[in-house]
């Protein structure tokens, strides 16, 4: 199920988007070039990006512009980044934190 806004009465339609593959917790997902990790996962209906360190409860995108740090994820086994500010790239491996 994709949540893409392909058609828009004022902004026009999405055309010729280049598709790439990313991996979230080792599962493959389709993303569009230009997506952030946050938008790519939301387009695929994945709302939970990490689990709270103490309570274990899910967390997802909250502010979407880098202020709240709620959407942090690990990319390529090294860096912890904010999903909402990080563009996707082909083959990117993203991991939820817990």
């Amino acid at each position: 199920m994709t949540m893409r806004v392909e058609y828009h009465p004022v902004l026009g339609n999405l055309e010729n988007q280049r598709r790439i593959t990313i991996y979230f917790d080792d599962q493959a997902y389709q993303a569009y070039e230009g997506d952030t990790i946050a938008s790519a996962m939301m387009a695929e209906g994945v709302k939970t990006l990490r689990y709270h360190e103490v309570s274990g409860k899910g967390r997802g995108v909250y502010c979407n512009i880098g202020h709240c740090f709620e959407c942090r994820v690990r990319v390529n086994e090294e860096n912890i980044v904010r999903a909402c500010l990080t563009p996707v790239s082909e083959g990117m491996r993203i991991h939820s934190l817990s």
Binding site: V5, E6, H8, L11, S39, H52, R59, G60, C84, L85
Partner: protein
Amino acid sequence: MSDLLIIGAGPAGLSAAIAAAEKGLSVTVIDEFPKAGGRLLGQLHQEPNGEWWNGIQKGEQLSQRARQLGVTIQCEVSVYDISQSKNGWDVYTTKGEYKAEKLLLATGATESPIPVKGWTLPGVMTIGAAQIMGNVHRVKPGNSCIIIGANVLSMAIANELKLCGVNVKEIIIPKADITSNEAGNPEQVLSSLMRLTHLAPTPILRQLGKIGKLVHPKIAIKLFPRKGIRMFDIPLRLKNAALEIVGDRFATGVRTANIKANGEIDHTSEKVVDADFVCIAGGLTPLSELASIIGCSFKYIPELGGHVPVHNEQMQTNIPGLYVAGNITGIESAKVAMAQGRVAGLAIAADIMNDWEQMETSINKAIENVNITRDKALIQFHPGISDARKKFYQKSEVDLTQISKIKKREA
């Protein structure tokens, strides 16, 4: 080393960059978002003349113009510290150190949270988050949503979400408590909506503005229908409060109840309204962390959205060489931010060339343009902005001549 480093590639930062570059300054703009444009990016509303204000286009035009003038714009750069050096500023970022003689903070605003019970569930986000997701990334956070918080921003974005194909089921208010303050009081919410100008971005706000001149909010809220009034076919329900966002692994809806005009809850009326996602609209407040780590003085001005760095009409702060423009100086529309950016860009050029006299006319003209833009602004976040600004600038501790004196003394 640039003459000017601007933090924030939004309407204020880009306009300042253009104005300064036109005067021959070397300018670098950095921003942590992957695209330049700042808060312009999500904006999409109809002007009273029927034309659409397309923020994405506007942002592209500004960054294109800036680049034509030789401005360097670098995205995905986050600032984590700033220190003053002998020659200006050292700015420490995730992409290394930047040096500049003058520094402009155009960091914009951040959304105030309303911590409704259940707000940490995935699928709960700020109204601005949903706006960026829909208009910029072209992704719907879900097919249906409920908006908690009735203000000018949430009402404008509700329609934008609808244009993205989201079923916005209703706009309700948070229940009255210590965190929601006035946002949880139906009479005060209606009163602030009614004070909005006739130029407001939605027909219903214009209507409320007209009624506001004739009817006292105390009476108006009594007459306000419990099922709400419809705006772009979206029910605006000021007599319904969100008690809790419900859901096990992610948000699935909101438990709501009828409330009286003073916010008192009728618990017998509680029910759960289903939605794929929930937006919290707590309003905007200036994003001023960087001014604070530099040691800038602050003043609390409720009409401007909270604590703002002390500055004068030329956009100088009380720290020589440090300027501010846009929503960091108070919450207003993007057009005001653009006009302020121009003032800052010109003032910085005058500062660098050490020639205030020659630039005086153009700076004053730019300041006048800020005032005109403010008076005509479509979205007035607070009815008292203009007066609060005037008072603030009259009393401003930042006096241009004083700064020049300091400079002379240092030299």
